[in-house]
């Protein structure tokens, strides 16, 4: 019982820290908002009361209309990316795999590039055309990879998927380069999209991203035992009774979906999906019963924090959040991965 006590302690601390991170992200910026003031504003907004005269309506507006939706969008994007990374690492038995390995980001970038370069516009979709196209191409690329792998390999083995994923990814990247050559004046816009940003995110972004992230995570949770089993490889999983051919496809598509929607709302942001699940495994063990939900929570906090850095470090200029996650992520990953000798042993 000692063990489960410390486990619930670890979960509680992580959850509280994440909330603290969110609060800090909402408070810090060109206008500092103290936590007490922020609480008043949020409570009043939610309960529909009129703001007390002590609160500057401009501050309230900054908090409610700009910072909160931005921090929350970052949170749920980070959560979704981290969960999708945890899935891919387990399903493909590869600690370095992610949705990006299977071409989600190259596909999404191509989709976005086509829209940007062609200056196409579709009625009803309006500003949503770009993310929708990115999402469709990102998911489409992964579907292509899975279809190819199924066709070529009866058991859809992981190394087949990774290999096909890399080839398709490179191919799509080549197409992207081709399209970019015609980008001309649009190349800046394309580049920004590829590096990711949460600038200007509104409540309707949260309204889509939050349910996708939360429901997606719950769906994935249904498969937490299969995820555990699949880390041991395809044949072992079959021996235990997991229908790997089916479950693998379901999980890969779920992961691609989570990444795809995230990419739509933020551009392509790397590293969160790679380092967060590893960090979570270090703290909570490898059991996906914990890895999946905690990846969501910690991934969310990590992304909100990265976004905070991206908008405050060189304020008033913003640096792309993808650059921040990589700058924090790369050294952190090396540290977490090689911290202990033998790399797997934690406790004797």
């Amino acid at each position: 019982m000692q063990k489960s006590h410390s486990m619930s302690a670890r979960i509680t601390v992580s959850a509280l820290l994440s909330i603290l991170v969110l609060a800090v992200c909402m408070g810090i910026g060109s206008v500092e908002i103290p936590v007490s003031g922020a609480m008043t504003i949020i409570a009043d907004r939610i309960s529909g009361k009129v703001l007390p005269s002590s609160v500057d309506p401009a501050v309230a507006s900054i908090l409610w209309s700009i910072r909160m939706p931005r921090a929350l969008t970052a949170f749920f994007v980070g959560g979704a990316l981290a969960v999708s990374g945890a899935i891919m690492q387990a399903v493909l038995q590869n600690p370095l795999a992610s949705s990006y390995t299977l071409g989600v980001s190259s596909g999404a970038s191509l989709g976005a590039a086509l829209v940007i370069v062609s200056e196409i516009s579709v009625p009803f979709l309006g500003a949503f055309l770009l993310p929708v196209s990115g999402f469709a191409f990102g998911l489409g690329t992964v579907v292509l990879v899975v279809l190819f792998s199924t066709k070529l390999d009866h058991n859809v083995q992981s190394h087949t998927i990774i290999l096909i994923g890399m080839v398709v990814s490179l191919f799509v990247n080549a197409l992207l380069t081709l399209v970019s050559a015609f980008a001309g004046a649009h190349s800046q816009e394309l580049l920004l999209w590829q590096m990711g940003s949460f600038s200007g995110r509104r409540w309707y972004h949260v309204a889509v991203m939050a349910p996708v992230c939360i429901l997606g995570t719950l769906l994935v949770m249904r498969y937490h035992r299969e995820l555990d089993i699949m880390t041991f490889g395809d044949e072992q999983s079959m021996a235990i009774g997991v229908d790997t051919r089916l479950v693998k496809k379901i999980l890969i598509l779920l992961a691609a979906f989570l990444t795809g929607v995230s990419v739509c709302f933020s551009g392509t942001i790397g590293f969160a999906d790679l380092i967060v699940p590893h960090t979570v495994r270090r703290i909570f063990g490898s059991s996906h019963k914990y890895v999946i939900p905690m990846s969501m929570v910690i991934g969310g906090a990590f992304m909100s924090l990265s976004d905070l850095v991206s908008r405050t470090l060189l304020s008033p200029r913003e640096i792309p959040v993808g650059a921040v996650t990589a700058l924090i992520g790369a050294p952190f990953f090396i540290w977490i991965y090689f911290r202990t000798p033998g790399n797997h042993e934690e406790s004797k």
Binding site: R225, E235, M238, I240, S287, E346
Partner: protein, 270 residues
């Protein structure tokens, strides 16, 4: 009755449409009745492991494999795994679980709640399996930190935890110290004399189908023997009638009987 029938099995690796693909098994047929322990013997590369994987439904093949009369291609993965458990030779470990967690994964088909929490029976069966393979003391250790032989025993425990009447073992004594080899073979012997009761209440005599590198260990447990050479069955049947000096010579390409006798000389003076 759980019997295993294989008829005209051919299998190999690579694309089935490719004419140059590696064909490992050639029209292999045999039957394993319930309660008969069978060992599959043959030289390296004769197709022993491939044969086990085909019966477990892990590799594509032509011909037919039936469990209790049902074609395994029509069975769901879980329906196979409820009757037949298999211990494979290798498993790469990328993410570290404790020994107990790993063994508990064998209870996958028996645990049916959202969080996958094991019930009392699951815990008892897992403990029993760990006891039998001598890994109880390692229960809280990370499998990534164990030696090859210890891991082998953990995976064996997981196989037993599946609680199936038929188990397929691919060189289960590989990496094991003599002590554990002996203990394992004794346990297998005892286990194979017992029954397993399935979830539907049916009783089945236990059956071991194993690939063994060590001929002595194989003969200790098997009632029937299948000899494979170059992917074909060269002899099969009851052990005492099938195993002859000539057959061993054919299969292993060495005078096995004399070799074993010479080995025995090392021990006479001790």
């Amino acid at each position: 009755m759980i019997s295993l029938e294989a008829e005209n099995i051919s299998a190999g690796y690579g694309n089935p449409k490719d004419k140059n693909r590696m064909q490992v098994l050639h029209e292999v047929s045999f039957t394993v009745p319930e309660g008969r322990n069978v060992c599959i013997l043959g030289a390296n590369g004769s197709g022993k492991t491939t044969l086990l994987k085909v019966i477990a439904g892990m590799l594509p093949y032509t011909g037919s494999v039936r469990i209790s009369g049902q074609d395994i291609q029509k069975l769901k993965r879980r329906e196979i795994a409820e009757q037949v458990a298999m211990m494979l030779q290798f498993s790469d470990i990328y993410f570290s679980y404790t020994v107990r967690e790993t063994v508990m994964l064998g209870r996958y088909l028996h645990i049916d709640n959202f969080f996958g929490n094991p019930g009392r029976q699951d815990r008892e069966i897992a403990e029993q399996a760990m006891e039998a393979t001598g890994v109880s003391d390692l229960a809280e250790r990370q499998i990534g930190a164990l030696s090859g032989g210890q891991r082998q025993r953990v995976f064996l425990a997981r196989t037993f935890a599946q609680h199936t009447p038929v188990i397929l073992l691919d060189e289960p004594t590989n990496h094991l110290d003599l002590k554990y080899q002996e203990e394992l073979m004794e346990y297998l012997q005892r286990w194979s004399e017992q029954e397993t009761v399935l979830a539907d209440g049916s009783h089945h005599r236990n059956t071991v189908i194993g690939v063994f590198h060590d001929i002595n260990l194989a003969f200790g447990i098997a009632q029937d023997v299948i000899f494979l050479k170059d992917g074909r069955i060269v002899a099969q049947g009851e052990k005492n009638q099938t195993v002859t000096a000539e057959m061993l010579q054919t299969v292993y390409d060495i005078d096995v009987v004399n070799y074993m006798k010479r080995q025995l000389n090392h021990w006479k003076e001790l």
